[in-house]
């Protein structure tokens, strides 16, 4: 296989794509949004359980899609649990950059401690999409949807 394909379809991604974590609908979830990728017709729903202090107590998703979008959703649910809204927003921003730009930012504009470097490292398996601009939307769909759910929107499209 070619190098950039091997970077994209790493074992971790194939594993999360095949066996997504937190693929469920928690009864206590209080924010929901559906994200739609018009290019392939795939959509997924993100369920957030936000406590009154603005902390994400639980995050799960439902839906089907390509290996990249499912793996990204699965990984997202793993890193977001216990984060505040601001931390989630900061992590999304850094993740987006990691998917689109060769020069990752150093986080100097983040508030101190907003982004845990270990979380960013876990998400770095998806940085292979950089070489596949048509697939960036697949990698970011779950995150856009999560952001919409936090903001109380119910629908979001990657276009």
């Amino acid at each position: 296989m070619l190098d950039d394909l091997r970077d994209l379809y790493q074992e971790v991604i194939l594993d999360h794509g095949r066996n997504p974590r937190n693929l469920r609908r928690p009864a206590e979830a209080n924010r929901h949004a559906r994200g739609h990728n018009p290019m392939c017709g795939d959509s997924l729903v993100v369920h957030l359980t936000l406590d009154p202090g603005g902390i994400i107590r639980d995050v799960a998703f439902e839906g089907k899609g390509c290996a990249i979008s499912v793996a990204s959703a699965s990984l997202m649910t793993e890193v977001l649990k216990g984060k505040t809204r601001d931390q989630a927003t900061a992590l999304f921003r850094r993740f987006h950059e990691l998917c689109t730009s060769d020069e990752e930012d150093d986080g100097s504009s983040d508030e101190a401690g907003a982004v845990d470097p270990d979380d960013l490292d876990r998400l770095r398996v998806l940085s292979g999409v950089r070489a596949f601009p048509m697939r960036v939307k697949c990698a970011t769909l779950a995150w856009h949807t999560m952001a919409a759910a936090m903001n109380g929107e119910e629908e979001v499209s990657t276009e």
């Binding site: 379809y9 194939l14 392939c40 017709g41 795939d42 390509c66 290996a67």
Partner: protein
């Protein structure tokens, strides 16, 4: 039809047989883009149903317009305008002969097939439908033959009905006939499905619709590149196709309409070119086809489309059809040997389109992986979301054939798909 033209279209070469008459390597040499490499691999272009590549005669015909025969058409008394108008109207004649229309006045140029459907949903609806009247489409339609009717439904209160298919993608004639009712004013359906390749038995559809005096509009976008189409033999009332899928340029589409029906229809858009006289109180419109061609038309594109029609007609659509049928059979055999691969659309009668899914790989992942081997296929819903839902899918991968494809292309596709099966296991 003029005898000289008929014989030019169907003239068999001396000692003709399609294997010898159809020299795919010579054809490939006419398509400069096929020499491109993609990700370091030779381009294997299997996406002609989305848009076909262009042969040199088309590219050169358009260059010639801009280099030596260009001005606005139907407007000037000067020499260049006359030359451009003649070239443009010659394009209309070629399209008329290509479809075997009774007259070139029955050929309306649009921007693409989509605009032709929007024209019909507007002008035909206003001329012939009252609120509550029905348009019957099929479950195989491209969005271009769905959404314009939905807009007309909102605006004019018409009703949209859908004739079903079976799980293999076969069009069901009797089910279709059962949906022709007292209020059906138009049947609008595809000749060949862009997503599954199903060939709809259009002549029989027309026979059953005409038995009830219902006119028929056919979407020929996926038929015209692959088979000879004769609108008078099919007895259709309207026929639509798009230039870029028959090896012509983008920016030009065609609506064929029976003269007496077009004559009854009001304009679609207003502006220059389509009027007989204008005053602030009252404007009168030209006769068809010009009534439906407001504004400066796609001049070089119509000339390019004429060159594309010459190109495929010289090769012979029956030879193209035979070549593609052989390739499709080979492709279905090779693809069926890929572990976990399922062909979607098993209609009895199919054109050169092979839609498929794989057990563990999403179409998007398939498309990305085989692209790295230089193989271009379309992935997604193919602008036919209701059809995908009918089949219980959101997307497929689709390999579509053109006259320049070879067994080598199919082998490259099969090799790349075996690699996908390995990755996703």
């Amino acid at each position: 039809m003029n005898d000289a033209i008929t014989s030019a279209r169907t003239r068999p070469a001396a000692g003709d047989n399609s294997a010898r008459a159809f020299d795919v390597e010579r054809i490939r040499a006419d398509f400069p883009i096929l020499r491109q490499r993609v990700h370091g691999q030779p381009l294997v272009y299997l996406d002609s149903a989305a848009s076909a590549q262009k042969p040199r005669p088309v590219i050169e015909a358009m260059d010639r317009v801009y280099e030596s025969a260009y001005a606005n058409v139907h407007r000037g008394v000067h020499y260049m305008s006359q030359v451009a108008t003649d070239a443009f109207e010659a394009g209309r004649e070629k399209v008329a002969r290509f479809l075997n229309a009774a007259s070139s006045d029955e050929i309306v140029f649009t921007r693409n097939a989509t605009e032709a459907f929007n024209l019909m949903a507007s002008s035909f609806t206003r001329a012939f439908l009252k609120p509550g009247d029905e348009v019957l489409i099929s479950a195989l339609e491209h969005h271009a033959n769905i959404v314009p009717w939905q807009l007309a439904r909102e605006q004019f209160g018409i009703v949209l009905k859908v004739a079903p298919i079976d799980d293999d993608g076969n069009f069901l004639l009797d089910e279709f006939e059962a949906r022709l009712g007292a209020r059906t004013r138009l049947v609008s359906l595809t000749h060949v499905s862009n997503a599954l390749g199903t060939i709809v038995p259009v002549a029989e559809v027309v026979r059953r619709a005409h038995a009830r005096d219902i006119p028929v509009l056919v979407d020929g976008c996926q038929a015209t590149p692959h088979m000879a189409v004769d609108v008078r033999a099919l007895d259709v009332d309207f026929y639509v196709f798009t230039g870029h899928k028959v090896y012509g340029p983008t920016g030009v589409g065609v609506l064929y309409g029976r003269r007496e029906l077009l004559a009854e229809m009001p304009p679609y858009q207003g502006g220059g070119e389509m009027i007989a006289s204008v005053s602030y109180e009252k404007t009168t419109f030209k006769a068809p086809p010009h009534r439906f061609e407001a504004g400066t038309p796609p001049i070089a594109e119509v000339v390019g489309l004429g060159a594309a029609i010459d190109y495929v007609s010289d090769i012979g659509l029956e030879h193209i059809a035979a070549h593609e049928a052989g390739l499709r059979a080979y492709a279905e055999e090779r693809l069926s040997a890929v572990p976990g691969l399922h062909i979607v659309g098993r209609a009895r009668d199919k054109a050169g389109i092979i839609s498929f899914v794989m057990d563990n790989a999403h179409p998007h992942d398939i498309g990305t992986i085989i692209d790295r081997a230089g193989v271009a296929v379309r992935t997604g819903h193919h602008c036919a979301e209701p059809l995908m839902h009918r089949l219980g899918l959101t997307a497929t991968a689709r390999a579509s054939l053109g006259l320049y494809n070879t067994r080598g292309d199919i082998d490259a596709l099969a090799r790349a798909l075996h690699a996908v099966a390995e990755i996703f296991g």
